[in-house]
């Protein structure tokens, strides 16, 4: 009935403190059915974004459904410049994030049997000895739920949980590939500055990751910082000389700075390698060739 609670009881995670509570997490009592905006505002305000639930209502609340969708919760956090990350569906991970000081937004079904009543709440603390979770939930600033009760309500959402962190911070339970995808989504949401900071922190933790370097370079590129993008890509090319993406992006960055001869040599190498990015490489090559044939008069170099 409560497999994860039982597992926690049988094998208490050693590295976790016995009890903890992030009391600095703000409380926004929810209005009507708007637990989504309230919970998300709780999370985002704690991460340093200045937001109220009212500002989030148009971003995540669906009046016809009287609720908020999970994808919209993730997307809204990203729109506000935060790294939104879905946790692995494990009680253990939920507790580890709280212990690391990261409040966790959870999706619960408070209904019984076939009657569903979906609800978002924010877990801010726990007590392993007493087996209790502490949440900001609905109209209650400090709701204390026994682990099995929480698990019963949480299980029906597939143990869905997310954190939203400022870009320089990495979730305690983050996996290398999962965190990189979360950063790519933040970058896609148009937050190049936040993404630049996020990729920087990511490479601090996982310095050998070539895709992380590609992300950092893309963020620099989007911000018009071409020399920085070039430097990062050259480093990445040293580690992954066969990466078509690195070659293509470096060639583009060099060409934008006026160094078309070196760019052409690189893009020819990328074209010879083929692979799934061949169409993009062809486009880049065509553009570089046309720049060589008719150089722009007022080019930077």
């Amino acid at each position: 009935m409560f497999p994860q609670t039982a597992a926690l009881r049988d094998a208490r995670p050693q590295e976790l403190p016995g009890r903890t509570e992030i009391s600095s997490v703000p409380f926004y009592p929810q209005e009507e059915y708007q637990c989504g905006p309230a919970a998300l505002a709780t999370l985002l305000t704690h991460s340093g974004a200045k937001l109220t639930p009212e500002q989030l209502v148009p971003q995540v609340y669906l009046p016809e459904r009287r609720g908020s969708l999970q994808v919209e919760m993730l997307a809204a956090a990203r729109r506000n410049g935060r790294v939104a990350y879905t946790l692995a569906p494990r009680f253990d991970d939920l507790l580890r994030e709280i212990a690391a000081g990261n409040p966790v937004l959870v999706l619960l079904d408070l209904g019984i049997g076939p009657f569903e009543q979906w609800h978002y709440a924010v877990a801010v603390g726990y007590d392993l000895g007493a087996g209790e979770l502490i949440l900001r939930s609905g109209h209650r600033e400090r709701q204390v739920l026994p682990f099995p009760v929480h698990e019963y309500a949480w299980k029906k959402s597939g143990y869905w949980a997310m954190v939203a962190l400022p870009p320089g911070r990495i979730a305690a339970t983050a996996t290398e590939s999962g965190w990189l995808s979360a950063l790519a989504a933040l970058e896609r949401a148009g937050h190049a500055r936040a993404a630049r900071e996020g990729y920087g922190a990511f490479l601090g933790r996982w310095p050998g990751n070539v895709n992380g370097a590609i992300g950092l370079a893309n963020a620099h590129y989007a911000l018009g910082e071409l020399p920085q993008a070039e430097k990062v890509l050259r480093g990445a090319l040293g580690r992954a000389p066969d990466s078509v993406v690195v070659m293509n992006n470096l060639a583009q960055t060099l060409s934008d700075q006026g160094w078309n001869a070196e760019a052409l040599a690189l893009i020819e190498r990328a074209a010879a390698a083929g692979g799934p990015f061949a169409p993009a490489v062809r486009d880049t090559r065509t553009r570089i060739l046309s720049r060589i044939q008719s150089p722009e008069p007022a080019g930077p170099k």
């Binding site: 669906l62 016809e64 459904r65 609720g67 908020s68 969708l69 999970q70 994808v71 919209e72 997307a75 809204a76 729109r79 999706l107 979906w118 959402s157 590939s177 990189l180 995808s181 950063l183 790519a184 989504a185 970058e187 896609r188 949401a189 148009g190 895709n211 590609i214 992300g215 370079a217 893309n218 590129y221 989007a222 993406v245 293509n248 992006n249 583009q252 960055t253 934008d256 799934p276 990015f277 993009a280 486009d283 880049t284 553009r287």
Partner: protein, 119 residues
């Protein structure tokens, strides 16, 4: 078609749009999202896009008010896991013309399911 479904599809598009406002804005450099996507996921994505490109499916989507070009962009915005699930459902369908209505219905249905009922 009934306006409730049309509204839902609108909402789906809005949701999907939120994921990719700048996805195609940078010409030249290959986006991080594409670089990160695994090869297997890329193949599944291609399979889903192939279904959307079929002339009969495309015209059906159009009739539903879902512009196939837009649908393609939206598929680009789904995460690898979401594409995998969508590809799985499409694979189980008959490939012939008779199945077209069903394909369109499932495509629309899966989109709706993703963004509405999987709360």
């Amino acid at each position: 078609m009934n306006s409730a479904i049309a509204r839902m599809i609108c909402r789906v598009l809005i949701v999907l749009m939120a994921w990719t406002p700048l996805h195609f804005a940078q010409a030249g450099v290959i986006s991080t999202g594409l670089a990160v996507a695994s090869t297997a996921a890329a193949a599944e994505r291609a399979a889903v896009l192939g279904v959307i490109d079929r002339a009969d499916v495309a015209s059906g989507l159009q009739a539903l008010g879902l512009d196939p070009a837009t649908a393609r962009e939206r598929v680009a915005a789904l995460s690898d896991d979401e594409v995998r699930s969508l590809a799985g459902q499409l694979e189980a369908l008959p490939a012939g013309a008779d199945g077209t209505g069903l394909v369109i219905l499932i495509l629309a249905g899966v989109f709706v399911w993703y963004f509405f009922f999987r709360k």
